[in-house]
């Protein structure tokens, strides 16, 4: 590239050299040089806009760069270009130096709230790609970075995966700033801190760590930062990536980090002393430390009357057990422990199974398999077709299969009940874990009977007890047990009685309120 060498002398280099080194390069005095470097780096992309103009009577050269689509163009026109091009003519031409032009731009002419200065080309490009607009003036080795972010985004809408009857309806969106604003609106305290960092070599995803200082444990905050900083991946597309990268036991089938798209839920968790991890581009916010019972607490529990919330909670735990064990218990009872079934039921099942060609285990397995196919198809298919599939599916695996004598009605009932039970668990991620384990349980129940089921349950329990999430035992407050905190596990005590935060989570500052009605 002789062109570069001729024009700028031997300290200048070609594009591949730039790509490698631009991060640590400073701006040059010469604006043309700056322009050429930035153009060499960015001009290939069609969405990058370079706007050159001159300032004042001395016609000082300046340019700004922005990314089309990421910036609010009206803001750039009205608050940057218009004042600079129209107003700077009034400057006294003779007294001006290049330096004072820069200063007056910074201090007087640019009329937006959020500006900062950067010297390194790498930082300038990072801000540019985040949606900011760098403005570079001839003769100054600094750039004014004007925050002009404004892109098309999904508007805040009702939560679809965690719908409630009573409680706030809004859900997080894909834009980090909107999400943090929703939290900030709920917690108005200087101690509520939102720190941010970037993860991903290419995506440079903004990740925010939100916590309430004094309430959250410092060690947990530090640990979250440490683990996030250790991530060295090309990109983060969804918070799911982060979850898998930072969870304690990467091989466990159980999710060890809870996520939610409800700002009210996240705010409540922050108040309990947890740390939220918000990833740009994902409406699901992660919360650590997470304990097992959190997955069975719905946001609504805390808004409805506590009696009914308690009932629902017990119902959900029962549904969890059902979704895990019902098919295996059925198969084990029918093939090994017929004496445990009440006589009329045993006779009825025997009558239904008369002529069924498969063993009970095979039958249950097939039905579970078909049910999973139906469920998967229901998600994938376009909404208009989805309904048709579910009707046909229900008819085929329900009515028709029984009438054709392929499966027994009891098996269909068991599989259907199990399916419904698994959908009543509020957290989808733990519901699918149980769905997965259900197949293992089914095989164990069908080969070893109740003995096997108990063995498998003990293994699952032992595994759960061995898990930890950011220093908090997964099964707490059940194991290690803490009777004081059991008030938010099987039951939900009224708010006026909830005086303490979970002490394993909050650590130093456990008292929530001084007022109590009891």
């Amino acid at each position: 590239m002789s062109f570069w060498n001729n024009k700028f002398g031997d300290d200048f280099m070609d594009r591949s050299y730039l790509i490698e080194n631009y991060k640590d390069m400073n701006l040059y005095d010469d604006i043309d040089k700056n322009l050429d470097v930035l153009k060499a780096l960015l001009k290939q992309s069609s969405d990058i806009i370079f706007r050159e103009f001159r300032i004042g009577e001395k016609k000082v050269k300046a340019f700004l760069i922005c990314v089309d689509g990421l910036v609010d163009k009206a803001l750039i026109n009205n608050n940057i270009i218009e004042p600079i091009t129209l107003e700077t003519r009034k400057l006294d031409g003779n007294a001006l130096t290049k330096k004072s032009v820069y200063e007056s731009l910074l201090n007087y002419f640019i009329t937006t709230a959020d500006i900062k200065e950067e010297e390194k080309i790498g930082d300038i490009i990072d801000s540019l790609l985040d949606g900011d607009t760098p403005l570079i003036v001839d003769g100054v080795r600094k750039s004014i970075i004007i925050s002009t972010r404004g892109w098309e985004q999904r508007s805040i809408s009702e939560s679809t995966t965690e719908a409630v009857v009573r409680g706030p309806k809004e859900a997080f969106v894909e834009t980090l700033r909107v999400n943090t604003s929703m939290l900030r609106r709920r917690i108005k305290n200087p101690n509520f801190i939102i720190e941010s960092l970037k993860v991903g070599k290419y995506t440079k995803t903004n990740v925010a760590i939100a916590y309430i200082k004094d309430v959250a444990k410092d060690e947990v905050v530090e640990e979250v930062k440490n683990r996030l900083n250790k991530i060295d991946i090309d990109g983060i597309v969804d918070s799911g990536y982060l979850e898998e990268m930072i969870e304690d036991n990467p091989f466990s089938p159980f999710p060890q980090i809870e996520h939610s798209e409800r700002p009210d839920k996240i705010a409540a968790e922050l108040l309990e002393g947890r740390v939220a991890i918000i990833s740009d581009g994902s409406p699901e916010v992660l919360v650590v430390p997470t304990i097992f019972v959190q997955f069975f607490q719905s946001a609504e529990d805390y808004y409805e009357r506590y009696y009914i919330s308690t009932l629902f909670r017990i119902l959900r735990l029962a549904a969890m057990l059902m979704s895990l064990t019902l098919p295996s218990i059925y198969v084990a009872a029918v093939t090994y422990h017929q004496e445990m079934i009440p006589s009329p039921l045993a006779i009825s099942i025997a009558a239904q199974r008369e002529g069924v060609p498969f063993t009970t285990l095979m039958e249950a397995f097939l039905m579970e398999f078909f049910f999973e196919i139906l469920r998967e198809a229901g998600i994938r298919l376009p909404m208009q077709v989805g309904q048709a599939v579910s009707i046909v599916g229900a008819l085929v695996i329900g009515q028709a299969a029984v009438q054709a004598g392929l499966v027994s009605a009891a098996t269909v009932i068991v599989v259907a009940l199990t399916g419904i039970a698994s959908f009543s668990i509020p957290a989808f991620n733990i519901a699918i874990t149980f769905r997965l384990l259900r197949f293992a349980m089914l095989v164990v129940g069908g080969t070893l009977g109740f003995f096997g089921i108990i063995m498998a349950l003990m293994m699952i329990l032992a595994h759960l007890a061995s898990l930890e999430s950011f220093g908090v035992p997964y099964l707490s407050p059940l194991a290690p047990s803490n009777t004081r905190e059991l008030n938010d596990v099987f039951i939900r005590i009224p708010w006026w009685a909830k005086i303490f935060r979970p002490h394993k989570v909050a650590g130093q500052n456990v008292k929530r309120q001084n007022y109590s009605r009891s």
Binding site: T335, G355, T360, S408, T447, M455
Partner: protein, 389 residues
């Protein structure tokens, strides 16, 4: 090495599976099993096997369509002992007999008279028999007759009889004994078992229905005689088995002939041994509460005196039932079915040690004082009877 070891452990757990796997539709559910011996001292077993497809109410289940026939089948088998007879079923059945849903064991009269020890041994040894199965002595017909009774509210005879037993349990109208209880009494020193007695009712020589008539008194494992319904009642009074039963007296307070029925709601008995030198006697005390359910005559129950005299009548009635029962077991059969000896042993072990060996001779002549205390609690919805004018 560690991995191999853990793999072996896991395999040893998993490979044990399936060995006792039986699909539920490959079993023949036995509900009702009867045992007897015949003249050649051969053991007979009669079973009622259900046909689930004929029992099910739903049209589905593969079998559907065919006209529902009899929901059960009766099979009999013969052998030198009960285990052999049971094994012989395999020669004629397509499915293995499944006993775990059987709750009644019928004992034929011949077997009961010659001793049921071998039968008890067989059923307590086999894990498939429920130890809570009811024991019933069948009289008035063969076991085969019993299994084929035609008059049923339920779908098959076994269910009918099971319902009768449970009904009796609730209303204390007959003596109900299960295997556990029988074995327990058999193994307790000087208490003799009693088993409920089921009589087959025949019409024109054909078995039609069955009803419980009193009980059978056993000496050790051998039946030695029957007890009438009244006598059975008397035994149940003493054994604390009475609850919710009805009590009929057939004369009024002034000696007039009438019928008054009471329902006993609560009863308690206590048996206290008394020792006076070498002389042993027992006090049987019964306290019970009752409600009036029906009367023929016109008694005004708002009068305290009337209540008192009705209580007296009930006491007399219960006392006569008890004395009747005592007469039968103590004087006629000479068996200690109530366990007077046991009571004596509990309270005066030293005295018992002395007379233990002679108890069989002493017992028939022991004096037993019966005292009954009744209290009439309620008279139903009417306190003054309907008075036709």
């Amino acid at each position: 090495m560690k991995k191999v070891l853990s793999l072996l452990i896991i395999l040893s757990l998993l490979l044990t599976g399936c060995w006792d796997k039986r699909e539920i539709n490959e079993l023949s559910f036995v509900q009702g099993i009867g045992m007897d011996i015949d003249k050649d001292k051969m053991c007979n077993i009669t079973v009622q096997v259900l046909k689930p497809a004929n029992l099910a109410t739903s049209s589905g289940g593969g079998g559907g369509g065919a006209a529902a026939g009899k929901p059960y089948e009766v099979y009999s088998s013969r052998g030198v002992d009960f285990a052999k007879a049971f094994a012989n079923f395999n020669t004629e059945l397509s499915r293995t007999l499944f006993l775990q849903h059987n709750e009644i064991i019928f004992i034929g009269e011949n077997l009961a008279r010659s001793g049921i020890y071998s039968m008890l041994d067989f059923i307590t040894r086999n894990p498939e028999f429920r130890r809570t199965s009811y024991l019933v002595v069948v009289t008035g017909g063969t076991l085969d007759d019993l299994m084929k009774l035609s008059k049923n509210v339920e779908k098959y005879p076994y269910k009918e009889i099971l319902g009768m037993i449970q009904n009796q349990r609730n209303t204390s109208s007959g003596y109900v004994c299960d295997v556990n209880h029988f074995v327990e009494t058999l193994e307790t020193e000087e208490v003799q078992p009693i088993v409920g007695r089921l009589e087959i009712v025949k019409k024109d020589g054909k078995p039609q229905h069955a009803r419980f008539v009193g009980a059978a008194a056993f000496k050790y494992d051998k039946m030695i005689g029957f007890l009438s319904e009244e006598q059975t009642k008397g035994i149940m009074w003493m054994d604390n088995f009475i609850k919710n039963t009805s009590l009929v007296i057939d004369k009024g307070p002034k000696g007039d002939k009438t019928h008054i029925t009471f329902t006993v709601i609560k009863a308690k008995s206590s048996i206290t041994p008394k020792v006076n030198g070498d002389d042993v006697s027992f006090d049987v005390k019964i306290n019970f509460e009752s409600n009036m359910t029906e009367q023929d005559a016109v008694y005004n129950l708002t009068e305290l005196k009337m209540i008192k005299s009705l209580e007296d009548l009930q006491e007399q009635k219960v006392k006569s039932e008890i004395e009747d029962a005592l007469n039968a077991i103590q004087k006629k059969y000479k068996v200690d079915s109530i366990g007077f000896g046991q009571k004596l042993q509990e309270k005066y072990p030293k005295v018992w040690e002395k007379i233990k060996d002679r108890w069989n001779e002493i017992y028939p002549n022991v004096k037993i004082n019966v005292s009954v205390k009744a209290s009439l609690k309620r008279s139903g919805l009417t306190s003054k009877p309907i008075q036709p004018r």
